[in-house]
Amino acid sequence: MALLSVQGVTKRFGGLTAVNAVSFDVAKGEILGIIGPNGAGKTTLFSLISGFLTPDEGDVLFDGQSIKGVPTHVQVDRGLVRSFQIVQTFADMDVLDVVTTAALAKLPMVEAIDFAAQTIRRVGLGGKEYLTPAVLSLQDKKLLEVAKCVATQPRLILLDEVMAGLTMAETEAPLAVIRELNASGVTIVMVEHVMPVIMRTATRIAVINFGEKIAEGTPQGIVEDKRVIEAYFGEHLDA
């Protein structure tokens, strides 16, 4: 049985259909990549899965249970967590405080602090525990997003463009963390713009364009898919 099953999910904002009848399954242990041009509806899709938005139609099942309209904190409790594309800031908390709050989802106070400190080192932010997130580099801010997710001890993580804005070299650290997480049994769904990254990381890829899923398959199959090429480069001209 699929760990996450998105079934015909639709979301409209006024006259605009941001996500239109999208369905896909994510098996336990997979890394599913979701790609698509800007404005394709990827982030909206994440918000629908993670409970920040409620679908107008369709359903989302996590571990066989519907999570449509279930509050976010309950979802985190069950093991589903998301990161944000736009890096989140905290005015008066340090890195350790923020990650500790995430760890409190599953652990009591003292254990949460220990686990948060471990998680911070694990993602490669060791030594930056007492910095305010605002002074971190973009790469470190992205790592903090990952650390927050990991600290909640999830079964499935939705990563929203964790690599966006990073140079190829800078993506190495977050990618290593993601692969390590996956190896330890965490299922991953990642939205990503950076094609080489997703090609090397994902076990399967779904392509979204104009709110609809236009293709799904292995990374190799996807790059050769005609509809995908059209979505990214426009229609082919036979001249």
């Binding site: 976010t72 005015a91 008066d92 709050t101 409190l104 927050k148």
Partner: protein, 337 residues
């Protein structure tokens, strides 16, 4: 509970400070004892408010509602229904807690932003004052005169003067302790995360409503208890003092000057501003009416301009720099500051 909490409790400095404060009434003339007691009232109220306003970042202007309920309801129950004031204290605290909960429900149900939250709580506070003034049972516009304080503890009497000082010292210490405990408990982490970034808090599993409501109820119950004791100390439950939104403004002002979100911030603000206000009034009140308000206002403006985050963070950072280490409680290390 974070170990830092117990470490701080074991720090002899706090116990010495408490002992020194406890000795204060011994050598103090009654006028200064009054100022000291008043200061403790505001230390207690500021710390109670800080749980919601400072740690949780929700600028509640409803706190006169809770103080007023504690003061007017408990007094009215004694005078008009002959109910022991201890019972009145508990009933008023429960009513205040319930009102705090309802405010949290409204906040959550209508997803109020910061400004709407402040305005709606202010509207509630105004309504509260109007209800008190218009309702004879609660004393109406003329307020309620409590029987003379004969020091009968079982009747919520503490013998005025020194007795009242110790009651307020206890409540101030309790209020500071509760907010310090909250900062070292998951509740404090949740509240700070909600304050700094509500969406990010949601995403990592923080139950927004439960934690905001819990903070509001704790804060309301504390404010109510302090209100009952304050009315008893004044012997006169004055609706224009105890159930007026102006009281909340004073509390917010002191907490801001001291430092929001730190357990000792509001205490520092009250310690500075209450004696300053009283002394200025004593010295300047007779010179030119209103002059003391000008000077008081000037000091407040100067402090806020000089250190917008309050005096405590400033002092803590200076100390941290002197010692070259140690991260101030509830704040971010000196990286950017």
């Amino acid at each position: 509970m974070k170990p830092a909490f117990f470490q701080a409790l074991r720090n002899p400095l706090w116990w010495l400070l408490l002992a020194a404060l406890a000795m204060l009434p011994l050598g103090l003339p009654s006028y200064y004892l009054h100022i000291a007691t008043l200061t403790l009232v505001y230390v207690a109220l500021g710390s109670a408010w800080n749980i919601v306003g400072g740690v949780g970042g929700q600028i509640s202007l409803a706190h006169s509602l809770f103080v007023g309920t504690g003061a007017m309801l408990a007094s009215a129950m004694l005078l008009n229904s002959g109910i022991n004031m201890w019972v009145g204290l508990v009933v008023a605290a429960l009513v205040s807690g319930l009102m705090g909960f309802l405010i949290a429900v409204i906040d959550f149900r209508f997803k109020l932003g910061h400004l709407s939250f402040a305005l709606i709580t202010l509207a509630f506070a105004e309504m509260g004052e109007i209800i008190v003034i218009g309702w004879d049972y609660l004393g109406g516009a003329s307020g309620l005169f409590l029987p003379r304080d004969k020091g009968d503890f079982s009747a919520f009497q503490f013998g005025g003067g020194e007795g009242a000082f110790y009651v307020m010292l206890f409540l101030a210490a309790l209020s500071v302790l509760v907010s310090f405990a909250i900062l070292n408990l998951p509740l404090g982490y949740y509240l700070r995360t909600i304050r700094d970034n509500e969406n990010a808090a949601r995403a990592i599993g923080v139950n927004i409503f439960r934690n905001k409501a819990l903070a509001m109820v704790i804060s309301a119950v504390l404010a109510s208890i302090i209100g009952t004791a304050y009315a008893r100390y004044l012997t006169f439950a004055d609706p224009y003092l105890l159930s007026s939104p102006v009281l909340t403004i004073e509390i917010v002002l002191m907490a801001t000057v001291g430092g929001l979100g730190r357990s000792m911030g509001p205490a520092l603000g009250a310690l500075l501003l209450v004696p300053l206000g009283e002394i200025l009034r004593g010295k300047l009140g007779g010179v030119l009416p209103g002059l003391h308000y000008f000077v008081y206002g000037g000091v407040v403006v100067a402090v806020i301009l000089a250190t917008p985050r309050g005096l405590l963070p400033l002092i803590q950072e200076r100390f941290a720099r002197l010692r070259g280490n140690a991260k101030p409680e509830g704040s971010v290390a000196s990286s950017g500051a």
